[in-house]
């Protein structure tokens, strides 16, 4: 009896991929990953065309540079420049796009137009760590101190301490990074406090990389000014958000009830107030972490701290299409991934957000 074939159970042609699609659709994680990949593809494509819509092109910019530097004629400069550029900029745009995308799928971001033969992935691999190190360190410092101060401000609301810190936080969150950077340089030079020539770059020349005290000291020596600027310009936002979230949470009924239950103040401050007040900051933190990948071009340029942000600016000025595209790709992937991880993390941190939606 059991061997009798039931006609309905026979898989119809095409049912396999349909079932697979349904499986993806019903699985939150898979759906989320698919969405992330589509977003990255869309942004990358948009960037591809936007970048090429910018006025001028790498060839023209290089010709202009040659003409002004070596006082060449336009014709000479053009023939010299053309021999250097491997990329055929005259090919139809769709061909360039297909070429770029097929490379991207294989993990090949092409070579930099200006430094012939240097792979874009190599440039990113070499300079991204410095940006991640400086911005990441700064982010950790400002989150830990900022959140801590925010809690103190909320508990000592309207005291002189709260007022002083609020003024500082407002300044910190509203003054742009480059103002701080320029002020540091102006006063550092005027009062002869800092040796900016020695501080240039991300390491001192000739230092041996490794887990040695000398090396670690050296990288902090070169990074401390950018880090200081990042901390000073971002800590205020963390302080103010945490202060306001804590104040809002302190007014919640469950905090009053916790006090009525005779819980100890430390327990209330951590599990009842702190945890609920910090929840909304998880998104901000993840996004800040993602943006740290792009670094701050202005700060890196001001202090000549050579990270990815520095190269981003360079590539934009030189219209180095492939490098520009590569830097933006890293940033896009980071932001999209951070958003995805935040979404997944909230399901763990906040039981009210059920992952999966249905069922």
């Amino acid at each position: 009896m059991s061997s009798v074939a039931v006609p309905q159970a026979q898989p119809r042609p095409g049912a396999d991929w349909r079932r697979a699609l349904r499986a993806v659709g019903s699985n939150f994680l898979l759906r989320r990953i698919l969405k992330a990949i589509l977003t990255i593809w869309f942004v990358t494509s948009l960037l591809f065309f936007l970048i090429r819509l910018m006025p001028s092109n790498p060839l023209e910019i290089y010709i202009q540079e040659l003409m002004s530097q070596y006082s060449m004629s336009y014709q000479d400069a053009r023939s010299q420049a053309a021999s250097l550029f491997a990329l055929d900029l005259d090919a139809p745009l769709w061909q360039q796009y297909v070429h770029y995308m097929s490379g991207l799928v294989r993990g090949d971001l092409g070579t930099s137009l200006r430094s012939q033969g240097t792979k874009v992935t190599d440039i990113i691999a070499k300079f991204l760590p410095w940006t991640l190190f400086s911005v990441g360190t700064a982010l950790l410092i400002s989150v830990i101190i900022g959140v801590g101060l925010g809690i103190v401000m909320a508990y000592r609301r309207d005291s002189w301490l709260d007022n002083v810190l609020s003024v500082f936080a407002s300044i910190s969150s509203s003054v742009p990074q480059f103002i701080f950077a320029v002020l540091i340089i102006v006063f550092g030079v005027r009062w002869k406090l800092l040796d900016f020539a020695a501080l240039r770059g991300s390491t001192s020349p000739g230092i041996e990389p490794g887990f040695t005290f000398a090396f670690i000291k050296d990288i902090f020596y070169h990074a401390w000014l950018p880090i200081a600027v990042y901390v000073l310009t971002s800590i205020g936002t963390w302080m103010l958000s945490m202060r306001n979230n804590t104040l809002a949470t302190l007014g919640e009924d469950y905090v009053t009830v916790a006090r009525a239950r005779g819980l100890r103040d430390t327990r209330i401050a951590t599990s009842y107030v702190g945890r609920n007040a910090a929840l909304p900051l998880v998104t901000s933190f993840a996004l800040a972490l993602a943006y740290s990948v792009g670094g701050s071009p202005v700060v890196e340029d001001t202090f000549k701290y050579v990270g990815l942000g520095y190269y981003l600016v360079q590539s934009v000025f030189q219209r180095d299409y492939s490098l520009m595209q590569g830097c933006f790709l890293v940033l896009t992937v980071a932001v999209v991934t951070a958003n995805m991880i935040t979404d997944l993390l909230y399901g763990v941190l906040d039981p009210r957000i059920r992952i999966g939606g249905g069922e």
């Binding site: 919640e252 009924d253 469950y254 009053t256 009830v257 916790a258 006090r259 009525a260 239950r261 005779g262 819980l263 100890r264 327990r267 599990s271 009842y272 945890r275 609920n276 929840l279 941190l349 906040d350 039981p351 009210r352």
Partner: protein, 357 residues
């Protein structure tokens, strides 16, 4: 913050009194001046007894409830008075307690079930963890012991223990949360349970369940209860005694049947007449004219006189103290005899009319 009244001697208290509130006054500091939210409130709560605090919004009921566990907001001050609490050898004046003693007193001696339990629980912790937090703050206990005790209590409030104890607050309905809070309030065997509007904002059937649950729990566990309500039908079902509050004072206090059938204060009478069929008979509904007085600048004399049909010259000048109007029954009205006579006459008249119709 409490103001020390300098009295250190323990006054004579009857053995069955668990809490004696004496001359308690609470002010709020507002921009316009002092809001006198509770004025010289005095009453004794006996073991296993339940008192209903009734009155309009803004008459000081919740202030009094919060003062009993010293959870008043920062702007509030306990101006004077004592709250004498005793349990066996344990004797204390709650007004005088320091922060740590107060923490230990809360929930273990006197638990409070708040109005609108919708937000009473930390949204990110499971019920079992919040129960464990509560017990651990007062005594050493293992997670298993707390879980078992918690499940027993959840069963007593007619909830499915297995499902509820591991749930997060948002997974429970409003009525369930209210019952979970009641269960949690009994975790530490408090001698007093304060309930602030325990049935407000719930549907009628859920209200019913909660009243039943409270009645049974009180019988089984024998705690004393103070419950704040503006729903007189709840008071009629649960209370042994009723205290009517007006403008921060208890203006009438007496056994539940006395208050409902023979009120001696025109305000209590007004409250009863504003509610249908508390006493079972059909009577014409009347609302009390006007609104409660300004507590910053209250009228002189009896605070109720501007709204009172019985008011005379003496009411405008002299604030009445409680008159003994029956067994264990006091009312702060100069004209309580007239009030009572008039009410009795009205009632018999209405009955006669209905008889004719």
């Amino acid at each position: 913050m409490p103001v020390s009244n300098g009295k250190s001697s323990w006054p004579e208290l009857a053995n069955d009194v668990v809490l004696s509130v004496r001359d308690l006054s609470v002010d709020y500091q507002a921009r316009r001046g002092l809001v006198k939210a509770a004025r010289n409130v005095s009453f004794d709560l006996h073991r296993g007894e339940s008192i209903a605090l009734v009155g309009e919004s803004g008459c000081g009921k919740t202030t009094l409830g919060l003062a009993l566990v010293r959870l008043l907001v920062k702007q509030a001050t306990i101006r004077n008075g004592q709250m004498l609490y005793q349990r066996g050898e344990k004797k204390m004046d709650v007004v005088e307690l320091g922060q740590e003693e107060l923490r230990q007193y809360r929930w273990a001696e006197c638990a409070m079930v708040f109005q609108g339990a919708q937000n009473a629980f930390n949204p990110v912790l499971r019920i079992r963890d919040q129960m464990y937090d509560t017990v651990k703050a007062h005594q050493d206990s293992s997670k298993e012991e707390v879980r078992k005790r918690g499940m027993d209590l959840l069963r007593m409030v007619q909830l499915e223990p297995q499902r509820v104890i591991d749930a997060y607050p948002h997974e429970l309905s409003g009525g369930m949360r209210q019952r979970v809070l009641i269960a949690m309030s009994l975790l530490l065997n408090p001698q007093i349970l304060i309930l602030d509007e325990p049935t407000t904002a719930l549907d009628v059937i859920t209200q019913r369940t909660i009243i039943e649950v409270l009645r049974r729990l009180k019988e089984e566990l024998g705690f004393a209860m103070i419950f704040i309500t503006h729903d007189l039908s709840v008071a009629a079902e649960l209370a042994d005694r009723v205290a009517t509050m007006y403008a921060g004072r208890i203006i009438e206090l007496g056994p539940v049947n006395e208050i409902f059938y023979r009120p001696a204060h025109p305000y209590s009478a007004g409250l009863i007449h504003a509610v249908p069929t508390v006493t079972g008979a059909y009577e014409e509904l009347t609302s009390i004219e006007g609104s409660p007085p300004d507590l910053i600048d209250p009228p002189p004399g009896c605070k109720f006189h501007p709204r009172c049909g019985f008011a005379t010259e003496v009411c405008r000048v002299d604030e009445p103290e409680g008159y003994g109007v029956g067994a264990n029954h006091q009312a702060a009205c100069h004209h309580w005899q007239t009030v009572r006579a008039t009410l009795t006459e009205q009632r018999s008249q209405q009955r006669a009319e209905r008889g004719l119709a």
